[in-house]
Amino acid sequence: MSRLRHPTEDPVWAKAIILGLVGLFLVGVLILPMVTVFFEALRKGLPAALESIQNEDARAAIKLTLITAAITVPFNVVFGLCASWAIAKYEFPLKPFLITLIDLPFSVSPVVAGLIYVLVFGAQGWFGPWLLDHDIKIIFAIPGIVLATIFVTFPFVARELIPLMQEQGVDEEEAAVSMGASGLRTFWSVTAPNVRWGLLYGVLLCNARAMGEFGAVSVVSGHIRGLTNTMPLHVEILYNEYDFVGAFAVAGLLCFLAIVTLVLKALLELVQPQSRPGRH
């Protein structure tokens, strides 16, 4: 075997050092934390862990998390479809500025995302007195949790669809319209099939973030056990009460959700390689 290496290949010792460093780094920062979650959850055996995710408070938290995601994801799908249609299919001034505004929630700290709704709907906020008079609760109640979750997941679907629709142009849609198809018909039979994988990709990431959001939801939730606790908030309460098995059991469930998300994401990237990986 030839000992000569190709000039664009790194020497073996360099490869070994780089792979070693990368391995150590990923084990310390990504892999061991995940192992910790399952190890701590099972510390007192499987029955104890299962009990912690089946008791009443845990069930209420799981239910609230599912409700939140079930409202947030369709809302962001509708917004994402409208925004990407308007941005990709027409020319208008200040387009890059509009895209920046849609991306804005990603640059805002989750805590600030929660705070803004407290300032608008809280007891001291703009609509606080009016809401109080009409006995409508938004902050420290489910509507606030949903609003804060919509804010932090706002750009996911739109930023996935905008580049995809821009890339596909308007020729097919114009052809459909010139043959007499209505706008909705054109969307359903021409545009939707073209963007479906990108849409699914956005939905997947949006859903993962909606179920896992902590900071924004923690500010608006009020932490009422069994009522306004989502799964991540339930994890926090159990952890702070030193119920580590309980905290890590619920965390394990969320970790499982993350793994499922990553697997589906990898599959979607196989189906549609242009879905750019690594967008949060």
Binding site: P33, A83, A86, F92, P93, S109, V111, I116, V170
Partner: protein, 288 residues
């Protein structure tokens, strides 16, 4: 011919919607987009600025830059910067390994890089706190040397490194893949050592993407809350991050104070957006 002339005249006049599109639905979709954007994002964000402006200017300055707030910014921005630099170093190595090397479980490693995007931050927080605590698997390795990681600013850096990890790797990967290996071959055939080739040919080509990744990781880390509060220790003047200070002031019903710190953080976020856009514009110019 006539059509081109007409379209040139139309273009010269620069109307609001340059080419009347044949596709219907602009008014509806744009209307929905702007309405939702205003109701969910823009108006509530304006509430923060309005709340902060209810104070007199000296009050605002005190709320924004008192000693406790300053130490919180220092920790948030300092730790975010250190974490972004750590991710810059390990991110470039990880991306290089993923693009250039073959090794076992490569696709698994590739998939797990995105874990910080998918794992809820609170889960990451309690896992890292347990792992790096003095009696945790990794914390116990450092405890005999007197190094405490969890519940100190060092723990904050660890959590922010976790949260920013995918940004550098994922912005570098496509650029590395497009890197023409013939330039490397040319450098090598002209007698450059591998080290010289990396230093003078590869790294400069990666520069803009690398900086973008680091800036994105920094921007994400500055506002991070969930993964940090469990490992930070949260001692005032010591290990308290700026977002935590906002929640503390909210709990004390000091809405103006909370809004003030939020305004400072938003200002930094917008500055980061501007910087990231500038880096990307620079990268595009370099690429042409």
């Amino acid at each position: 011919m006539t059509a081109t002339v007409t379209s040139e005249i139309v273009a010269a006049r620069r109307p609001l919607v340059r080419r009347r599109s044949a596709i219907p639905g602009f008014a509806v979709t744009m209307g929905v987009t702007l309405t939702i954007l205003s109701l969910i994002v823009l108006i509530p964000l304006a509430a923060v600025a309005l709340k902060a402006s209810e104070q007199t200017f000296p009050e605002f300055l005190h709320a924004a830059f008192n000693e406790r707030a300053l130490t919180a910014y220092r920790l948030s921005f300092g730790a975010a910067l250190i974490a972004a630099v750590i991710n810059g170093v390990f991110g470039v190595l990880t991306a290089w390994a993923l693009v250039r090397y073959q090794f076992p479980f490569k696709s698994l490693v590739n998939g797990i890089i995105d874990l910080p995007f998918a794992l809820p931050t609170a889960v990451a927080g309690i896992a890292l706190a347990t792992l790096y605590a003095p009696n945790g698997w990794i914390g116990a390795l450092f405890a005999p040397a007197g190094i405490k990681i969890a519940y100190t600013p060092l723990g904050v850096v660890i959590a922010l490194t976790f949260i920013g990890l995918p940004f550098v790797v994922r912005t570098l990967e496509p650029v590395m893949r497009d890197l023409a290996s013939d330039v490397e071959e040319a450098a090598a055939s002209l007698g450059a050592s591998r080290f010289d080739t990396i230093l003078r040919v590869i790294l400069p080509a990666l520069g803009p993407a690398w900086l973008t990744g680091i800036a994105l990781a920094f921007a994400r880390a500055v506002g991070e809350y969930g993964s940090v509060i469990f490992i930070a220790g949260n001692m005032p003047y010591k290990s308290e991050i700026a977002p935590l200070l906002i929640t503390i002031e909210l709990e004390q019903y000091d809405y103006a104070g909370a809004a003030t710190i939020a305004v400072v953080m938003l200002a930094v976020s917008f500055l980061m957006l501007f910087v990231i856009n500038a880096i990307q514009a620079w990268a595009r110019r370099l690429g042409q």
